[in-house]
């Protein structure tokens, strides 16, 4: 039986949970004031990698391109996945990159790793960019088979193949789950509905063991962290950052605030007359709901 090497590409994203977001007066995101966190989809990808850790004793690596503070996201992803190495690609030259410029940095980083990767995971999309392109573009650059919308997977370490279930949603028709088999290496973009299942006692014991290890490792995450700049990575400077990004943002429009279609009316519960009115309205609403 061979070993399994897994990399997860992740992203530090604004924390859109309550109370952590701050906006500029013009409605754009105030990045300096908004807290950052591991992107929720990156988190799911890290969970998928942890599944490999528990089931196949895989070695997990987490990589990201971003500013130095992105080590926070690496730490969070390590706590989920029990990664043994965290790579941060950080350089002023990388600034202003679109998905293609980002994919180039990630490709170089992944190819430079001490081990040959068998599976690379990405999240479904980022919560601030929402394009969902970095994953597929990295896969294309790496030349890996791309599997999108994966909801579960298993690996045969003997034959070096992966079996994955993909959730295919097409508008207007019911969802379909497609099961595919592919030789390693593969690039997997994880579906938001992905869930790891640990059905055997031995798997649950391994889960508890590695989870404990993950928490301990994440407490000392700096010991596992390696930071690379453009030169150390050896990237082609014309393919990264602004020069490597063909996307042109032509115009940004504010999404108009939708006008409320519901109106609330305060009713005095002690007044029988008003209650009568409510009952009449409820009757009207109910009769309107009857399907004819």
């Amino acid at each position: 039986m061979g070993t399994l090497n897994i990399t997860v590409i992740i992203k530090l994203e604004p924390d859109f949970s309550e109370g952590n977001v701050s906006y500029n007066p013009d409605g754009t995101l105030n990045r300096a004031e908004t807290k950052n966190t591991l992107g929720p989809h990156s988190g799911i990808a890290a969970h998928a990698a942890f599944f490999g850790r528990v089931m196949y004793d895989a070695k997990v690596f987490i990589v990201t391109m971003g500013p130095p503070i992105a080590d926070l996201a690496l730490q969070q992803a390590q706590q989920i996945s029990d990664a043994e190495e965290l790579h941060l690609y950080s350089d002023r030259l990388f600034a202003g990159a679109d998905t293609l410029g980002t994919a180039e940095v990630l490709r170089v980083g992944i190819e430079k790793m001490p081990h040959k990767m068998d599976i690379v995971f990405s999240g479904h999309r980022a919560s601030d960019g929402e394009t969902g392109q970095t994953g597929p573009q990295t896969a294309w650059k790496l030349g890996f088979t791309f599997l999108g919308n994966v909801i579960s997977y298993s690996v045969d370490l003997e034959t070096r193949t992966i079996r994955a279930k993909r959730l295919i949603s097409l508008q207007g028709s019911p969802n379909v789950v497609e099961e595919v088999e592919a030789p390693l290496p593969v690039f997997i973009s994880i579906d938001p509905t992905y869930k790891s299942n640990y059905d055997a006692v031995s798997q649950r014991l391994a889960f508890e063991k590695y989870q404990k290890e993950a928490i301990q490792r994440a407490q000392n995450f700096k010991d596992y962290l390696k930071v690379f700049n453009a030169k150390e990575l050896g990237v082609d400077e014309t393919l990264v950052g602004l020069p490597g990004s063909p996307t042109i943002v032509y115009k940004v429009e504010r999404v108009p605030k939708s006008t409320a279609t519901r109106r609330a009316e305060v009713i005095d519960g002690t007044d029988p007359e008003q209650i009568r009115k409510v009952v009449t309205k409820m009757k009207e609403a109910l009769s309107a709901m009857v399907i004819k």
Binding site: A200, S202, E208
Partner: protein, 623 residues
């Protein structure tokens, strides 16, 4: 199918002790727990004792976990144990510290969530080395036997089935294992107490001062008399580090005879002036927000007030605790103690000046919970095993409850060790026939705890009677009970122990556990001898709906309880007796809404009752 040596089912303090002991003996074992996290389903009064009986031996917690005294999250070492008799505003107190200290190394107040998490960490570390460990979030559904090998096949709601050579069942007072294999019947109402407890927040140094204890001491107060609302049982108040455990425990048959809502019973205790004074604290009172303000402005004020109040509580709590102050200063946010106090004052000023928050006297409740307690003297399993399944702790109906002597956790831990030793022996001999159970049964039968469940300890009784010797004889008429006669008369006290042994424990229990002992006599004592206590305020007690809303649940859409007969008398009483008000009556039929259920099992007599599936149901923060 995967195979393991031993499975412990249930991760309470008894099950964890069994796992730890098996690991200590070098045996592989796994522990299955239904809660999402160890400790989340556990609740206790709670005092954890370590005992040194004169005759026989018990295994104490500090022997199972060698770093227990240095490292375990203990609340306070109980150094005062006082019984109060109540009647309206009058209270008559008896110091029973000698009874608490009787044959004890120590007794600590504990909170089960924290403590069991700590036990689990220790047990997990040892078990892991042997290929075992703890698996939370899994609920055992059924057990069956492989006819050839005699091994047990365990089916759960969550995992693939697996096989073990022996099971230690530690699944609590409502043991499903015991019921599904037919090891015992469900406990009857005569065999159970129903306990309800609230956690009251109170800063550490206020507790020290109010209870006149130093930072490493604790106080336990027991209550009997009119606070019982004529039920057999009583109230308690234990000091934790920075909370109080306040509870009411009553015999379930007494509650069935004369139903009273569990929350009414605890509210009655909280309203007793002595208790009210014990729990009181300074609390911020939110201002009424001007209704004419714009919606946004109203929200801004509401959030502003909520945030300030939270900060105020956090800093105040730390300010009244040596470790809290140290933590704040270490964090670098505050220079020194004065800095903390001036910040606290400025927040207080901001609250009142900017938002019109005022301060008053009230109490702050943080968690409500309930559990059934097996009355060991009435329900301990005579043969606590079935084939190769051994029952321990609450599951085996074991606990020592005699008057003010209240011991459960230590009994469960001792049982866990006995069971683990028996299983380890069976593993060595590779013999899992009935001799395993019989060996365990015999070893546990000799435990001093079992002896205490069978007969009254005469020396303990003497201490109790000595404590009552100052009660003048002429206060209470002769018609009030044999026990009182013993207490109040020197001559009687002298022969009381002899007398107790002559009439025998079985006959003595109904006398000890009677309305006279728990209600009438204490009430009269308080009326005639008690001091008047006046409360400086009236506690604002949260209604039950708020208490339930405050708890954490992981709701299961599948109901874990099925009503069998919706028009039975028993079920009608559940409308009153369910501590989380899950039952209601409509048109003569009792219906259940299982969502707020706190898994206590009060209704299990006449329902198809299961623990919720893995990770589902109640999740206590304190326990």
């Amino acid at each position: 199918m995967e195979k393991y040596d031993v499975a412990v089912i249930g991760g309470g303090s008894a099950g964890l002790a069994a796992l730890k002991q098996l690991s200590n003996l070098g045996k592989q074992a796994i522990l299955i727990e239904a809660g999402s996290k160890i400790g989340s389903k556990n609740l206790s009064g709670g005092i954890l004792y370590s005992k040194k009986p004169k005759k026989g031996q018990v295994t104490n917690v500090e022997q199972v976990y060698e770093n227990f005294l240095d490292d375990a999250p203990l609340e306070r070492k109980i150094t005062k144990y006082i019984l109060h008799s109540t009647s309206k505003d009058k209270v008559y107190s008896m110091d029973l510290t000698a009874a608490h200290d009787y044959q004890a190394n120590f007794g600590y107040s504990v909170l089960m969530n924290k403590l069991n998490s700590w036990f689990a960490k220790q047990a997990q570390e040892s078990a892991e080395k042997l290929g075992g460990g703890i698996i939370p979030g899994v609920h055992v559904k059924s057990l069956s036997w492989n006819e050839q090998t005699g091994t047990i096949i365990i089916q759960t709601d969550e995992l693939d089935e697996f096989e073990v050579k022996a099971v230690i069942a530690a699944d609590g007072v409502n043991s499903e294992i015991a019921e599904m294999v037919g090891a015992r019947k469900k406990f009857t109402t005569e065999q159970l107490y129903q306990g309800v407890k609230v956690i009251v927040k109170l800063p550490e140094e206020i507790i020290d001062e109010r209870f006149a204890i130093s930072s490493d001491e604790g106080a336990a107060h027991l209550f009997a008399g009119d606070i019982t609302l004529n039920h057999i049982g009583g109230g308690f108040l234990y000091t934790n580090r920075d909370t109080l455990s306040v509870g009411a425990v009553y015999h379930l048959d007494s509650l069935i005879r004369n139903p009273a809502e569990p929350y009414t019973l605890i509210d009655t205790l909280l309203k007793n002036p002595m208790v009210s004074e014990f729990i009181k604290d300074k609390v911020p009172i939110k201002p009424d927000i001007d209704k004419n303000l714009s919606q946004e402005e109203k929200l801004r004020i509401r959030f502003g007030v909520a945030k300030l109040i939270k900060t105020w509580y956090d800093i105040r709590e730390a300010n009244f605790s040596p470790s809290g102050r140290e933590r704040l200063i270490e964090s670098g946010k505050y220079k020194d103690v004065e800095d903390i106090q001036s910040t606290l004052l400025s927040i207080q000023e901001k609250m009142s000046e900017k938002f019109g928050v005022t301060f008053g006297t009230d109490y702050l409740e943080d968690e409500y919970g309930a559990k059934l307690v097996p009355d060991g003297k009435r329900c301990r399993m005579k043969k606590p095993f079935f084939k190769n399944i051994l029952f321990i702790g609450d599951a085996a109906g074991r606990g020592v409850f005699v008057g003010p002597r209240i011991e459960g956790i230590n009994v469960g831990i001792d049982d866990g060790v006995h069971a683990a030793n028996a299983v380890a022996r069976a593993l060595d001999k590779n013999d899992f026939s009935n001799s395993l159970g019989e060996f365990y049964s015999k070893s546990i039968e000799h435990s001093p705890y079992t002896v205490d469940m069978k007969q009254i300890d005469k020396d303990y009784l003497k201490i109790f009677l000595d404590a009552a010797k100052d009660v003048p004889t002429d206060i209470i008429g002769v018609r009030y009970g044999t026990i009182l006669k013993m207490m109040s008369s020197d001559t009687f006290r002298g022969i009381a122990i002899k007398f107790a042994n002559i009439i025998g424990y079985d006959k003595l229990i109904p006398i000890i556990e009677s309305e006279e002992t728990y209600v009438k006599v204490p009430t009269i004592l308080a009326e005639k001898l008690g001091k008047s206590i006046s409360a400086s305020y009236l506690p604002t007690i949260p209604p039950i709906a708020d208490r339930i809303a405050n708890l954490n649940y992981n709701d299961d859409n599948l109901a874990h309880i099925k009503v069998l007969n919706s028009s039975s008398e028993y079920m009608k009483k559940m409308v009153i007796l369910c501590p989380s008000k899950c039952y209601s009556e409509e048109g003569g039929k009792v219906i259940i809404q299982h969502e707020g259920c706190i898994d206590c099992g009060t209704c299990s007599q006449e329902t198809e009752w299961h623990h919720p599936r893995g990770e589902k149901g109640i999740h206590y923060q304190y326990g």
